[in-house]
Symmetry: C2
Subunit: 306 residues, 2 copies
């Protein structure tokens, strides 16, 4: 096997109560990449469609992530990478993570899997760092591992994968506006009340328990955010209207995907997801802002060969 085509899924990070630690993997939305094993060492980005991204390996998220893996593997081979972006940059559903995860997943496959999926997360973080300025794993972990992921901590990296309950669907509404990462960071107070922190970690505990016990109601009760969402939601026009529409139409919970601007809702079953999707569209329409909307089962596999 010298060439593979892979699907690099979009991801939702934070998930209300899980700021900076939780993420989930989507199925219906993602990039495609073609990875080719060649005799020349190093990594060459041969083609990019769907986005205006740097072709130079060291300036490209996929290139940097792939090089981190190659250096660790001490491989005699090199790789060519084609990137076909479908996830829009700045959408808040892990566009750069998909590229980073895809590169390390694909190269690892073509090398005969010298690394475990958990180890791949580490290399993918190097690519993520190029895009975001810091090595965080809340999008690359679910993108590589699939399902839900908890990043317990970073010293050393400790990622726990949690299988998604079978019937969990996500709806993601992506308004075509730019929310600068610097803005979404700046609105966060570096201090929080102990009271709110306790509420938040009680809910995170409930979310994790709900996922393990496949208790959809508990998952829904736990999808609350008393810290980050109140500070950030004004950056997203009609956020409250869209969230309320989702909840009133049967969503288990809803919130900001990553640092925004995408708004997500989680639903028990595809039928409810369809109704919720329609209600979110209606609630966003009067902003006049163009948007995409996606419905996707939670993807328990992560990045995969297609």
């Amino acid at each position: 096997m010298t060439e593979i085509k892979i699907f690099c899924p979009a991801t939702i990070a934070n998930l209300n109560c899980g700021f900076d630690v939780m993420g989930l993997c989507l199925d219906g939305i993602g990039d495609e990449m073609v990875i080719r094993k060649v005799e020349t060492k190093g990594i060459t980005i041969t083609r990019i469609t769907g986005a205006d991204l740097p072709m130079e390996t060291e300036r490209n998220v996929a290139g940097v992530a792939g090089l981190a893996l190659l250096n660790a593997a001490q491989s005699d081979y090199g790789f060519e990478i084609e990137i076909h972006k479908r996830i829009k940059a700045g959408s808040g559903i892990g566009s750069s993570s998909a590229s980073a995860a895809g590169a390390v997943f694909g190269i690892n496959e073509l090398l005969g899997r010298p690394f475990t999926k958990h180890e791949l997360v580490h290399f993918a973080m190097k690519g993520e760092a190029l895009a975001s300025g810091c090595e965080h794993a809340d999008n690359v972990a679910p993108c590589v591992l699939g399902g839900f992921t908890l990043v317990r901590g970073y010293n050393p990296l400790d990622v726990i994968k949690i299988q998604s309950p079978e019937e969990l669907y996500a709806v993601v509404l992506h308004p075509h506006i730019e929310v600068k990462t610097s803005d979404s960071r700046a609105v966060l107070n570096p201090e929080v009340s102990l009271k709110n922190a306790i509420t938040q970690w009680g809910n995170l505990g409930g979310l994790i328990a709900g996922l393990y016990t496949k208790d959809y109601e508990l998952i829904g009760r736990s999808l609350q955010d008393v810290i980050v969402e109140p500070a950030r939601k004004h950056l997203i026009p009609n956020f409250d209207e869209v969230k309320n529409a989702a909840l009133q139409n049967g969503a288990l919970g809803a919130g900001i995907s990553g640092a925004g601007p995408s708004i997500f809702a989680l639903c028990n079953g595809e039928a409810i997801a369809n109704i919720v999707s329609q209600s979110m569209k209606n609630a966003y329409a009067d902003t006049g802002i163009p948007f995409d909307i996606h419905i996707s089962k939670v993807n328990d596999t992560g990045t995969k060969i297609i």
Copy 2:
């Protein structure tokens, strides 16, 4: 059945990263109570041994909790309660909770179980409120339900019981000193850094995941507290020495039980618990302060008939 004798276990609340939300139930340490169904309505405390506690129903934790249940049940019967305290007041292992849980559990049994165990937690909290001034569930929940409990939130009360991994043992060292609740509250900063809060909820997520997957190592990695323990540990002489001794001798984790002064360690298996217990004794001995030490399997049943 008109009379039962019950075991009302001690409990450990907080569990490092789970401040105000987590607790576990012990087996080797607890009070005994005798509950008797009588024709006269209301509750009479007929005997208390092992502690100097009020005999008046409305001033007694067991009495208040029992009355809360009786009022809701609209029972035609009354109950006599004997309390044989073994858990010392102010030890930080749920002395008042044991009395509250025992009363509601026993009365519920004699009434033919009109309430679920989860409902009993609500009544037991009324007794706890008499003792501590606020209706919290982090000790009464594990005392009633057994195993580990997560109190997700209070509006409405949402308690999740998590079965304990089979081989989990706790060691509890109770120094005979008084730590005033007002002091242990006063040292807590009402504001915490968002960074520390994220570390804390990452660890709480890891603890819950470790419990569901019976991953002892993950439980151990997660038993960290970057918020409360650093603020409170100076109230307990030789806390660091005892904790370090426990960790160096194989404990998965160690910390302050409840608001202290008891120090607990969790261990994988009885053999390690015995070694850890000895090391904690040695590390406490040079304080010259008298202490008790208990080794107990985590009790997955909770309060029970004996």
